[in-house]
């Protein structure tokens, strides 16, 4: 745990990178979805997986069942990204990508497909931007559903996830008219967090 924890400088650097990346991601999402999505200033923590659920509960105040979609990403830094949203907010989430189909009666799209689409778009935009800031081009795997009505604790079952350490990067997505919240979390193995430390050091020393 000690050696994968971030130093204060590294944490500041990661925070700065995440801020820049979310700015980029917001711009890209706005042009894709044709509506302005506000992304909160991301909050970054490195926690043990067994503490992840409690930490995330403290950060978000979520006390209800959630829907969780997972997606792998890899370069030399690799891990898993989760999009988590209150089960009751799935409709709002899907409305984000639903628009074009309103005018296309015969091309129907299921709610499950919309949900994967929106999770993929949010993950893709945010993770790509962060990785680009670290000078990496990630490759993604297809999104998969962890569950539609899960307790936060069940999302982070330490014996199910391959990761022992989680980089919690918590971002709120919200819309101007309907406010909803979705949260993005990046999970990484020790090895990848170490590589990220190195990448952050390289950026710090180049300043």
């Amino acid at each position: 745990m000690r050696e994968t924890a971030l130093t204060e400088d590294q944490r500041d650097a990661l925070q700065e990178i995440a801020n820049l990346a979310m700015g980029q991601a917001a711009t890209r999402l706005a042009s894709l979805l044709d509506t302005f999505i506000e992304l909160s200033v991301p909050r970054v923590r490195v926690v043990r997986v067994e503490d992840a659920a409690r930490t995330l509960r403290d950060m978000t105040g979520i006390d209800e069942p959630v829907i969780a979609v997972r997606q792998g990403f890899r370069s030399d830094i690799k891990g898993e990204a989760l999009v988590i949203c209150r089960s009751s907010g799935v409709g709002n989430l899907c409305a984000l990508v639903n628009d074009p189909y309103v005018h296309s009666a015969y091309e129907s799209v299921s709610q499950a497909e919309l949900m994967f689409d929106v999770a993929n778009v949010l993950t893709g935009a945010c993770v790509s931007c962060i990785m680009n800031q670290l000078d990496r081009t990630p490759i993604f795997s297809a999104p998969g559903l962890l569950g539609e009505k899960l307790a936060l604790e069940d999302v982070f079952q330490a014996d199910v996830l391959a990761w022992r350490t989680a980089l919690l990067l918590e971002v709120n997505f919200s819309l101007e008219d309907k406010t909803f919240r979705a949260h993005l979390i990046m999970l990484m193995a020790e090895d990848s967090i170490r590589r990220m430390n190195e990448a952050l050091n390289a950026i710090l020393s180049s300043l």
Binding site: R28, E107, A112, E113, N120, V121, G124, A125, T137, I139
Partner: protein, 309 residues
């Protein structure tokens, strides 16, 4: 010109690879796509993909590709939500209902520097996965049904019967109305087993279960409670009506002897009935009361039906 190794791999590889520009024009088309679509690269490359395949979902596909250009990130489509993009034949002769090759699609950004110059689409044939999943779902449905049935008679087993009784009882507690239960038992069944053998005993149970199942209403739940004991749950039925059914069951059983292994075995049954009434704490008590009525029918000489007094 000699093809590079990468070109040879792309030609031979076992999944579809093609490349689109931002106006949906095809830039590349591999052998898999050619073999499955019947359209060669020369026919497809340089034109909009919708010129060659007008049946493709235009809004959906354009949007997928555009999202990759705008986000510089991947997009996906799974057979579980969208069984196929292209109407390709699959190579499985017997697939039990899968009409076309089931496809997983990946949309990858091809970048030069930070700029997305094109989108590469890969198509994986996952027909075998979908067939396996379908078979597994069918097996689960079958297992669930077997779990609710009694192996010998094919009617509901005790577990299923009690679950339904619990549901009906809580409905009755909430909404009121009428709810009756009959328990019945073949008289002197042990003697039948001893005199004619277990094979005949089993036939008697099977035939009786079948006769009664044919005689009861569709909305009633008929189950084997264990051994030679059976139970019938009658929702929305007052006790007096339930006892009419009890007599019908009793006569159905005793009117005709059972033919088994060349022998005629006369069978009679005793029936006990009880109905839900105010103050009953749980469905178990309802069963106990029907059981007490059944006991009293036995004591009064068997081959009769008795309602809980």
């Amino acid at each position: 010109m000699e093809q590079s190794l990468s070109d040879l791999v792309i030609e031979r590889v076992g999944f579809g690879i093609f490349v689109l520009d931002r106006s949906m024009k095809v830039l590349m088309w591999n052998r898999f796509m050619q073999d499955n679509s019947g359209m060669a690269a020369e026919q497809v490359v340089g034109k909009s993909i919708f010129d060659s395949f007008p049946e493709l979902p235009r809004v959906w596909l354009t949007r997928k590709v555009e999202s990759v250009f705008q986000l510089g990130s991947f997009a996906f489509s799974s057979w579980e939500q969208r069984p196929y993009l292209f109407k390709f034949d699959h190579d499985r002769p017997i697939t039990g209902g899968v009409d076309f090759m089931q496809q997983d699609c990946t949309f990858m950004p091809l970048t030069r520097g930070r700029e997305v110059v094109a989108v590469c689409v890969t198509i994986s044939d996952v027909t075998h996965v979908s067939v396996m999943q379908r078979e597994r779902e069918e097996a689960v449905v079958k297992l669930r049904e077997y779990a609710n049935r009694d192996g010998l008679t094919g009617i509901a087993n005790r577990r299923f019967f009690e679950a339904r009784l619990r549901d009906e009882f809580s409905r009755w507690q909430r909404y009121g109305g009428e709810l009756s239960v009959l328990l019945f038992d073949l008289d002197h069944f042990k003697d039948i087993n001893d005199r004619f053998g277990h094979a005949v005993g089993d036939t008697v149970l099977r035939v009786m279960a079948q006769r009664v199942a044919d005689a009861v209403r569709a909305q009633d739940i008929f189950g084997r409670f264990g051994g030679e004991e059976f139970a019938l749950l009658l929702p929305c039925t007052p006790l007096a009506d339930a006892m009419v059914v009890a007599e019908k069951i009793r006569t159905t059983i005793c009117d005709t002897p059972v033919e088994a292994e060349g022998m005629r075995v006369p069978v009679t049954a005793s029936v006990g009935g009880a109905a839900a009434r105010a103050g009953l704490p749980g469905y178990e008590v309802l069963i106990n009361e029907a059981d007490a009525a059944l006991y009293s029918a036995k004591r009064q000489g068997r081959n009769r039906s008795v309602a809980l007094a």
